[in-house]
């Protein structure tokens, strides 16, 4: 088993947390995993990106040119990264902030999920990252939404523990929108 995913969006959308959660879940599942965040000067412009690689083998590079899945959480990410996933790859787009009309690829699987809107409906725009992970779990088949939810405790800080149920709900909402469990 090998799977790699690239998540990109604005700073503040919880991109890194989403990646870390995914990595933690993969680790708890017994997989090898690497999580690579964007860092430093790149952050100034208000963008955030990360890559997660999961495998039952040793993992080579934690940075991947052509990730099997790209999650584009905003318009610039859609424009910039839709090209990187290989033919047959998966592109999950936050259709609340990115225009699906701008998808140029014909050779990949594209899913629009109005992550921000769904999150706002759940009561907090910041949950869009969890919605994204739910959709990812459903669409990639690489890891289950339960496994992701199960790792929340390890990743969410002590004082935010009470928010775990809400996060779980957001993950499920993503699963639901992407085609149901």
């Amino acid at each position: 088993m090998y799977y790699d995913v690239f998540i990109s969006g604005f700073g503040g959308q919880g991109i890194l947390l989403a990646g870390q959660l995914l990595a933690e879940a993969a680790m708890e599942k017994g997989l090898n995993v690497t999580f690579f965040p964007s860092y430093g000067v790149e952050m100034r412009g208000g963008t955030a990106r990360c890559t997660v690689v999961m495998s039952d083998n040793e993992i080579g590079s934690p940075i991947v040119d052509n990730p099997r899945c790209v999650i584009a959480m905003n318009q610039p990410s859609l424009v910039r990264y839709q090209e990187s996933t290989p033919p047959g790859g998966l592109l999950i787009v936050n259709s609340s902030l990115a225009n699906l009309d701008d998808v140029k690829r014909q050779d990949i699987e594209v899913h629009g999920v109005p992550m921000s809107e769904l999150a706002v409906e759940l009561g907090n725009a910041r949950l869009s990252n969890m919605v994204a992970l739910g959709a990812f779990a459903r669409l990639s088949g690489s890891i289950s939404s339960d496994e992701i939810a199960g790792a929340l405790e390890a990743v969410i800080s002590e004082r935010n523990r009470s928010l775990i149920p809400l996060n779980e709900r957001a993950i499920m909402e993503g699963v639901r929108y992407a085609g149901g469990k």
Binding site: F10, G45, G46, N74, Q75, P76, L97
Partner: protein
């Protein structure tokens, strides 16, 4: 009549101009620009702007021009 022009694509929505306008003429939009920021606009262009330049002085991104 004095007025200001805000380049919304440059604006980062820091709101420093909002706070400083004596007539509270500037407000933040809910929509975002291409940079991903909720930019600001002159709320009431017809009315009270005195062209005092306070908003422009504060703006770190030099998106405000003032006419008088």
């Amino acid at each position: 009549m004095p007025t200001i022009k805000i380049e919304s694509e440059k604006c980062k929505g820091c709101s420093l101009c909002i706070d400083v306008c004596p007539y509270e003429l500037i407000r933040q939009e809910r929509t975002i620009n291409h940079q991903g920021y909720q930019y600001v606009v002159l709320a009431d262009p017809e009315e009270q702007c005195t062209g005092c330049t306070l908003c422009a002085l504060m703006c770190p991104d030099i998106c405000i021009e003032v006419f008088k």
